[in-house]
């Protein structure tokens, strides 16, 4: 089949399925088939347009524009996530290279990795007495494990030929790390960073319900207002933002794909 036709067809199918979904949603809600007062798609779309047309208003912490809340959440995620990546990559390289570091750190990693990052929220509040820093702290803990583990795994499974070449040329340890190991494990690092970002974006919504401000708090607030359609608006926006973030890493991964 012609490629242009096939993309156009895919696009048409996507639009069609969206239309069917919107109509079904509206019909089910209008007939009260699910529960009474369940917002229909038309009402939700109306809210979405209302929120998106003036996204950055600020009438105090309980009445912020959705864009303002989104930026607050994104800022927390980006700060906590960046700090986590800055710690995870060097630590992962160390764990991959040194048996001692591996055996002394791995027990903690294995023990802490399966714990929901939300469990750290009270700890953060107790230590920092500040919801902003606590949010960043929770995202830091969330983001660190996937990047750390992927980096360490990448180093441990690096093609020994590259290291042999480097060694045979008499390269120093720092040259080997900078010019051989780091580029060689770039795909692993990016895969870890992508998972970290995905989890961080999941966790921030839950964490913010307890922290005040941010897109997660927006949902909590609208639940208190019993405004389900606004919650749907938030869900759509969270989903869309998460998708964009994920695509960005997908793009980076393609750039650093060395496979033949």
């Amino acid at each position: 089949m012609n490629k242009a036709i096939s993309t156009r067809l895919t696009f048409a199918v996507a639009i069609l399925s969206l239309l069917i979904f919107i109509i079904l949603w509206q019909v089910i809600a209008q007939q009260g088939l699910l529960v009474k007062n369940f917002p229909g798609s038309f009402k939700t779309i109306g809210s979405l347009i209302w929120w998106v047309s003036d996204p950055f208003f600020d009438n105090g912490p309980n009445d912020l524009g959705i864009g303002t809340n989104l930026l607050i959440s994104l800022r927390r995620v980006l700060i906590g996530y960046s700090l986590a990546v800055l710690v995870a990559i060097p630590l992962g390289v160390l764990m991959g290279m040194s048996k001692l570091a591996q055996s002394s750190l791995n027990p903690y990693v294995q023990l802490l990795k399966p714990v929901s990052p939300l469990a750290w929220l009270p700890v953060g509040l107790f230590v920092f007495r500040n919801s902003e820093i606590t949010g960043i702290f929770v995202i830091f803990i969330t983001s660190i494990w996937p990047t750390l583990i992927n980096t360490a795994f990448g180093v441990a499974s690096i093609n020994p030929d590259y290291l042999r070449v480097s060694k045979s040329l008499g390269a120093s340890k720092s040259t080997t790390i900078r010019r051989v190991i780091l580029p060689a494990i770039m795909p692993n690092i990016l895969a870890g960073m992508r998972i970290s970002m995905g989890t961080a974006w999941l966790v921030i919504v839950a964490a913010e319900m307890l922290l005040g401000t941010g897109i997660g708090y927006f949902i909590w607030n609208e639940w208190n207002n019993l405004s389900l359609e606004n919650i749907f608006v938030a869900i759509i926006i969270i989903g869309f933002t998460g998708f964009i973030l994920d695509q960005f890493f997908g793009f980076l991964q393609d750039k650093f794909d060395y496979s033949i």
Binding site: N159, R164, V165, K167, S168, L169, G170, R179, P183, F256
Partner: protein, 288 residues
């Protein structure tokens, strides 16, 4: 570094370029943190033992032996990539302590860095070995060696865009670019088709003639060893492999692929090598 070692060798022509003395390598099992079964005695696998060999300057030596006998191990020791368990490696009269740019190594599977282009792969070697050289100098030199192996057009291609033969030529250019006195090659042409192989063999010979290097080549091809070498070293089957024979190949150069096969000396050595390999391979089969 390079200048120094070549100076030593010219003032001491009576030294062999490379000398292996009672060389042995035992691979010890890595001890796990929690391993109740292997208490105490560190048992190891002796790959090679009592290797004694002298290689003269600017000669071409091939090492041949049954599969798994320890050829790569021996080459890694000479390259300084692994430390011997016993014995010494003397180059230009001095015991080596580790790897060095006086030896260029060519690995079996090319070992090009996939995130670097062809020319960047060579520049990596040059930058590592000659950190004082300017960027322009390095680029110029990398180009020169790419030209030498006929790949200047592919200089901005990535390894995944090259054929096996082209990759191996880049690896050869990289190894030569640092101007080594010795070229160590581990079955460099094993994975190539017959035509590419014979083309690269000719290229290697002309490079060897022009560049004045000592070549140690590991191969499992008797024909390749006979076509290229001044001396062929035969290894016995492992474990604890030793050098069982050294054969001088007194055939005139340049050697013609077709004509050489009718040469009685060639045929005599070939028979001897075949017999040896058959016997040693049989020994491997019986052990396993």
């Amino acid at each position: 570094m390079n200048k120094k070692s070549s100076k030593i060798s010219t003032s001491n022509e009576n030294y062999s370029h490379l000398e292996l003395i009672n060389l042995g390598k035992i691979f010890f099992k890595e001890k796990k943190f929690i391993d109740f079964r292997s208490k105490g005695n560190r048992s190891g696998f002796e790959a090679i033992k009592d290797i004694n060999l002298k290689i003269e300057k600017n000669t071409f030596v091939s090492i041949i032996g049954p599969s798994g006998c320890g050829k790569s191990t021996l080459l890694n020791l000479i390259a300084g990539l692994q430390a011997p368990t016993s014995g010494k490696i003397i180059i230009d009269g001095q015991a080596i302590k580790g790897p060095g740019p006086d030896r260029g190594v060519i690995f079996q599977n090319y070992a090009l860095m996939p995130w670097l282009t062809t020319i960047q792969n060579i520049e990596f070697a040059l930058n590592t070995v000659f950190p004082a050289k300017t960027k322009a100098d390095v680029k110029e030199r990398a180009r020169k060696y790419l030209r030498m192996v006929g790949l200047e057009k592919a200089s901005n291609k990535f390894p995944k865009e090259l054929s096996g033969g082209m990759k191996q030529r880049v690896a050869i250019a990289r190894a030569l670019s640092i101007n080594p006195n010795m070229l160590l090659m581990d079955e460099p042409f094993g994975a190539l088709d017959a035509l590419t192989r014979s083309y690269l063999q000719d290229e290697l010979l002309s490079i060897w003639r022009k560049n004045k290097v000592t070549v140690v080549l590991i191969t499992h091809s008797i024909e390749e060893a006979l076509l290229l070498s001044d001396k062929i070293v035969l290894m016995s089957s492992g474990p604890s492999a030793i050098i069982s024979e050294e054969i001088s190949v007194d055939l005139e150069r340049p050697r013609d692929r077709e004509k050489i096969e009718q040469d009685p000396t060639y045929l005599k050595i070939k028979m001897r090598l075949e017999k040896h390999l058959l016997r040693e391979t049989r020994a491997v089969e019986e052990v396993t």
